[in-house]
């Protein structure tokens, strides 16, 4: 079971789940993933000291009014690394969390032992417009995000209480503040991906319907110098939920390789 810890990062409270021992890895969750410590995180924590913060306005971290842009989140997590005294970490992120992670990597690759992106969003891809999840009801979202809809149960809300609905609304609001328009991307990010010097693993679900492998995953693999692209045949947009062991194995192997290379 992970430990829950609260930090203050330059005045912004942040809640972190953490577990495991070994080289540090920071995992940035996607929309709806806050506070869910699932088999993927458990598998990573067998070899690494895994920390998963909840983004401001998500899970147990209160909303932060100053966050207006996704780069604010990236700086927030660079500040978190400073607060934790972590000079260098393995960084991983899924979907929205992958977007934040990529922004961080364009700013401070020297702080990253490795970078693992799991079906990230965040760049404008030629010939693709991300389906608008904000305009969808839950069945439509599940249909878009998951290849295996049963995997969605892990993120299902515990009930329909006012508290739960208010939390969901707060999370949607925090996401919309930085991702409503332009929707799910930062127009400046794509060109900046060439700055990333951290060794990068890109994991992609073969059946991703939100950000399909072609053209999205292929664009990422092309734009980040030397990136390795690994495809997960039985996954949609969230392979770390749909094939957690396989994705964890790939990430661990990649991190291990970069540890030995140092």
């Amino acid at each position: 079971m992970p430990e829950r810890r609260e930090f203050d990062v330059r005045g912004t409270p942040v809640q972190i789940l953490e577990d495991g021992a070994g080289p540090p890895l920071l995992f940035l969750h996607g929309a709806g993933g806050a506070g869910h410590w699932l088999p993927f995180q458990e598998a990573l924590a067998k070899e690494l000291h895994v920390r998963m913060p909840s983004h401001p306005g998500h899970g147990g971290s209160p909303a932060a009014e100053w966050i207006e842009h996704v780069s604010d989140l990236a700086f927030h997590y660079l500040d978190l690394l400073d607060a934790l005294g972590l000079e260098r970490v393995h960084l991983a992120g899924a979907s929205f969390g992958g977007w934040i992670a990529a922004e961080m990597a364009t700013m401070a690759s020297h702080r990253l032992a490795s970078l693992a992106l799991i079906d990230p969003v965040g760049i404008k891809v030629d010939g693709w417009i991300y389906p608008f999840l904000f305009g969808m009801d839950v069945p439509e979202i599940v249909q878009t995000v998951f290849h295996n809809p049963m995997a969605a149960l892990a993120l299902a809300p515990p009930d329909q209480s006012v508290e739960t609905l208010a939390l969901q609304y707060r999370q949607g609001t925090a996401l919309a503040r930085v991702a409503w328009n332009p929707y799910l991307y930062d127009p400046l990010l794509r060109r900046r991906l060439a700055r990333i010097t951290a060794p990068t693993l890109i994991c992609w679900g073969a059946h991703d319907r939100l950000a399909p492998l072609a053209p999205c995953g292929e664009t990422w693999a092309r734009e980040i110098p030397g990136a390795r692209l690994q495809i997960f045949a039985d996954s949609g947009h969230v392979p770390h939920l749909e094939e957690p062991e396989a994705v964890a194995r790939a990430v661990l192997e990649f991190c291990r390789g970069k540890e030995h290379a140092r």
Partner: protein, 381 residues
Amino acid sequence: MKFYYFHLMPYVMDHDEPSSWVTLSNRLYDPKQGQILYNQYLDQLEYAEQLGWDGLCVNEHHQNCYGTMPSPNVMAAMLVRRTSRAKIAILGNGLPLRENPLRIAEEVAMLDVASGGRVISGFVRGISAEYFSTGVNPTHSRDRFYEAAELILRAWTEEGPFAFDGKFYRYHYVNPWPRPFQKPHPPVWCPSQGSSETVEWAAKRRFPYLMVFTPVKRIAQIYGEYREACQRNGYTASPYQLTVNVPIVVATTDAKARAIAMKHVMWVFNVGLRMHPPFWRPPGYMTEASLRRLLQNPPKLPSELTFEEADREGYIVYGSPATVRDKLRVFSDELRAGIVCSGMNGGSHEATLEMMELFAKEVMPHFREDAGVDETAGVGR
């Protein structure tokens, strides 16, 4: 009491799509039918002035069959030239929906000058669905509303040019020509759904508050909050600061009125306001406090409202002239609303005109104790 004729300019149709807003394909819109409807609707508004209505109301909604008036200022412009006495109430312009809200200051000033000061300028945020149609970030809605309102009011009242450096809107030269006809500016109304933040904001500025399609019990509650807020700000609310917008159906008998209301008014709720659920609740459009208040006592979706519920809770007013008079007494005497905004739909253009005539003859004269009063004097600015 003052009577304002309110038009949504609906494109009345039946369909089986899940939403009448945002995604209802515009292939279903027939411009030839639209031409007939626009002209009939404008005829109705012009006729309302002849029949004695005090004001004519237009409003802004986007991408739906509920109201085909994406630019209320365009319709107001047509009315300005075809009427001479009635107020032209734009209820309103969706301030946050504009990338350049100075255009609203300019357009409303144009209308005010051309009409010789007959314009009432509603300021609204736009309903939830507009944020899907326009792409504007709903989490910015409230802040953009306040900032645009400040910009427009300053553009109308301060000598230009001046610089404006807001969070969302920035100009080096604010200096619109023309300036508005009315001094210091056209009255501002706030049509709203009762969020406590807006009530306070409107009361502080003496901006009349307008409740649209709301059950009577909730109107009474919000009016109470508004009056209290006025007291807190050191004055007593004028009845003309409290406006109610309710559909009215009048016919020679209660039974006839009931049949018309069941068919044509319920279309507005059951079809016109049918909306894919996510479009009702874009993230951040409401404060979390407002959301919690809503969830404690969730209102029924308009598409699920039955005629019996609409009748019982006072969403609609219908009946013979005598019955309608009695029902309107609730608004005038109990709620102490100074202005009733209402559209009418008899089922056809001709039937609507007849209904308007009946109302003007048999209902309106019974509420004219304030015939000599200018409802816009001292309010809205």
